[in-house]
């Protein structure tokens, strides 16, 4: 009996070993923010190859600005990688994306941060896998506050409270500017969110939900802030001043940007900084962003590609991914992340809370695919045209409204 059992085990074992391991080299399209990120990525990929020896990777790094052009080339030529990192899914490439609802079931997408996960849905399909999320928020130069002898803003403070404080600190501590703000429609939109304004309806069917009068009022407020507290001309649309570099070089007391800067500040800032609390308007709101992973249905190694993406978006791996890249995990089920420094951990926790506590429309607005059809440009132009004196606030907001309507009309 023992002998037969033993032989059986050996036979079973040897059959398993004899199963041919089909080698699959996955082409990965990726963009990185620096050499360290690329190294970290390669280490992570090596880890996966260690677990699944038949899957190797061919990493194709592209500058972020070149990604849309690359997607167009894929769609036109039929030559695509197996998996790609992306921040939005262009219309021309959507037909080629793997539907994750089919691969992993309808409920799989629900384990991710809702705002970002909604952006991956296209009708009934789920065309992307959320990889990481980012949150918009403010950073303070703690050393400057200490030097000025002013207390840092507390949670629940409004813009009306905080702005004069920033000015006080800049004068007393000798810092050039009270505030710098990323010149990005995504960051500006957060300000509108904080006064209850949003572009699209929260529920289907999508329609434009702008209260133009309220938008104009808030736009005027924002333009006044750029005049009184920010470097002159920062929002003129042609400024070559770089908010990030100004904050890191201690030329600004506060910097409105987002969670992706945590790692850079850790590496480059020679002063004590703190993330948040972000001042609020009538409500407290952040804005979600991040990255997705998409797999292409033209891939010759579809199984391996799907397995890899499912692995990297699973809770445990998400925690590791977030830790090494200094980002927020997209998967809500990821265990708590121990970042490289207590400052970073505190900052991340703050941002995650901000995202949780944001109103619903902060997530739904950009989840609508219509947002990708020129609405962002219109939002940015609304501010730059008013600051540079080329349009009145009323005209500017009318432009945004029109662009939002046009996007809906175009998608019909």
């Amino acid at each position: 009996m023992n002998f037969i059992r033993y032989t059986a085990m050996v036979l079973v074992a040897s059959t398993a070993l004899a199963t041919p391991l089909v080698a699959a080299e996955l082409q990965l399209g990726w963009y990185v923010d620096g050499d360290e990120q690329e190294q970290t990525l390669r280490t992570l990929l090596a880890e996966y190859t260690g677990l699944h020896p038949e899957t190797t990777f061919n990493l194709q790094i592209t500058p972020y600005d070149g990604m849309s052009e690359k997607f167009r080339q894929y769609a036109a030529s039929g030559i695509m990688p197996d998996v790609s990192l992306t921040s939005s899914m262009e219309p021309v490439v959507r037909p080629f994306l793997v539907d994750w609802a089919e691969v992993n079931g309808k409920d799989w997408i629900n384990q991710f941060v809702k705002g970002w996960a909604d952006g991956a849905k296209f009708g009934d399909k789920v065309i992307a896998a959320p990889l990481d999320v980012t949150a918009v928020g403010i950073f303070y130069n703690v050393d400057a506050f200490a030097k000025a002898g002013v207390a840092l803003p507390q949670a629940g403070a409004t813009w009306d409270d905080v702005l004069p404080t920033l000015k006080q600190v800049s004068e007393k501590a000798g810092v050039r500017f009270p505030l710098v703000w990323d010149v990005s429609p995504h960051r500006y939109l957060t300000y509108q969110f904080e006064y209850g304004n949003h572009i699209y309806s929260e529920d289907a069917p999508v329609r434009v939900a702008m209260d133009d009068a309220s938008w104009v009022k808030v736009l005027k407020q924002f333009v006044k802030i750029t005049e009184d507290y920010m470097p002159p001309g920062l929002w003129s649309g042609s400024s070559s001043d770089k908010p990030f570099d100004m904050f890191v070089n201690q030329q600004a007391v506060a910097y409105m940007s987002g969670s992706w800067q945590i790692q850079s500040f850790n590496d480059n800032a020679s002063f004590k900084w703190q993330a948040g609390p972000t001042p609020k308007g009538t409500v407290s709101s952040s804005n979600v962003g991040g990255n997705y992973l998409v797999a292409f249905n033209t891939s010759k190694h579809l199984d391996e590609a799907e397995a890899f993406v499912t692995w990297i978006t699973s809770p445990k791996v998400q925690a590791e991914y977030a830790r090494v890249f200094g980002l927020l995990p997209a998967n809500k089920l990821a265990p708590d992340v121990a970042y490289s420094s207590p400052d970073a951990s505190a900052a991340v926790k703050g941002f995650q809370a901000d995202l949780e506590n944001s109103p619903r429309y902060a997530a739904t607005d950009q989840a609508w695919p219509e947002m990708q059809a020129g609405v962002w440009d219109a939002v940015k132009a609304s501010v730059t045209s008013v600051v540079s004196g080329q349009a009145t606030p009323e005209e500017a907001i009318a432009g945004v409204h029109a662009a939002a309507e046009a996007a809906i009309a175009a998608s019909k």
Binding site: D33, Q60, I61, Y64, A76, S77, R176, V248, S264
Partner: protein, 272 residues
């Protein structure tokens, strides 16, 4: 041969040098500053903490020498190919009257009248169909036909006296000999200049490498520089140090070619 009067000359040269020396000097000096100092206020030209770490970091990158090797191979090969074609085409347009000569000239010039970016996708498809994607050959051949080069050579060769060519033809010299033994030597200043231009153009190409190359081992220097521009911030130390390093070979080539030019011109002057 002095073309302008002396006192005005000195002032003019001083202004020119300030205008043209300042930016490259500032580029070089900024590359020698640590990251924190690059954007400090008030800005300073001279580095406070002189450092070579930016260059060290750039050079120790994984594929650094590969980038320069790729760029060098592509630039030199493409430039030689391009100059050869431009001399031939320029000579044909300058010294021959044949059916369709104006049409062909305008056809060649029309190639620079539409920005490449708008026809990027059709170009990409042509590259795919010819099997040139992901090869350095693609980088060498695709941009090799330069209408600017043809135009330059045409204008210059027009100035070569016809009687030299007539005499050679009457003697029964084969055409290829006329090209090599008469035209080329007399056009040497323009050829040298064109060679320098082509080397610079191919070295600075970004669009073609972006279209054709996907593997990091085949990257050219320009692709590597473009990757210093990240999604949220620019890696200034890397951008600056790589730009400085990337200019060095062209500087060397330009200086070397100027020497050849001078010798060629000296020979030309002596012949007069």
């Amino acid at each position: 041969m002095r073309y302008l009067p002396s006192p005005g000359r000195v002032v003019a040269i001083a202004v020119v040098l300030i205008l043209f020396v300042l930016p490259p000097l500032w580029l070089l000096l900024s590359a020698l500053k640590p990251q924190a100092e690059i954007f400090q206020w008030p800005p300073s030209l001279w580095p406070e903490h002189f450092t070579l770490e930016n260059f060290q970091k750039t050079i120790s990158r994984a594929n650094f020498s590969a980038y320069f090797l790729n760029s060098a191979i592509v630039s030199v090969s493409s430039a030689l190919l391009s100059v050869a074609m431009s001399v031939m085409a320029g000579y044909a347009l300058a010294k021959f009257r044949f059916k369709g000569d104006t049409v062909i000239f305008l056809l060649i010039m029309s190639a620079v009248m539409v920005p490449l970016q708008i026809v990027l996708i059709p170009v990409f498809l042509v590259l795919r169909d010819l099997g040139l994607l992901n090869t350095l050959w693609g980088l060498i051949i695709a941009p090799a036909a330069t209408p600017t080069g043809v135009f330059l050579m045409r204008q210059y060769i027009t100035g070569i006296p016809d009687n030299l060519l007539e005499a050679a033809r009457i003697d029964g010299t084969p055409e290829w000999r006329i090209l090599l033994r008469i035209i080329v030597p007399l056009a040497l200043p323009a050829i040298g200049t064109l060679l320098a231009f082509n080397l610079v153009w191919r070295w600075n190409d970004y669009l073609w490498p972006f279209l054709i190359i996907n593997q990091q081992e085949q990257w050219t220097v320009q692709l590597a520089i473009a990757n210093s521009i990240g999604r949220f911030s620019i890696n200034w130390p890397r951008l600056l140090s790589m730009t400085v390093l990337s200019i060095l070979p062209m500087l060397v080539i330009f200086i070397a070619l100027q020497k050849t030019l001078m010798n060629g011109l000296m020979a030309g002057a002596a012949k007069e």
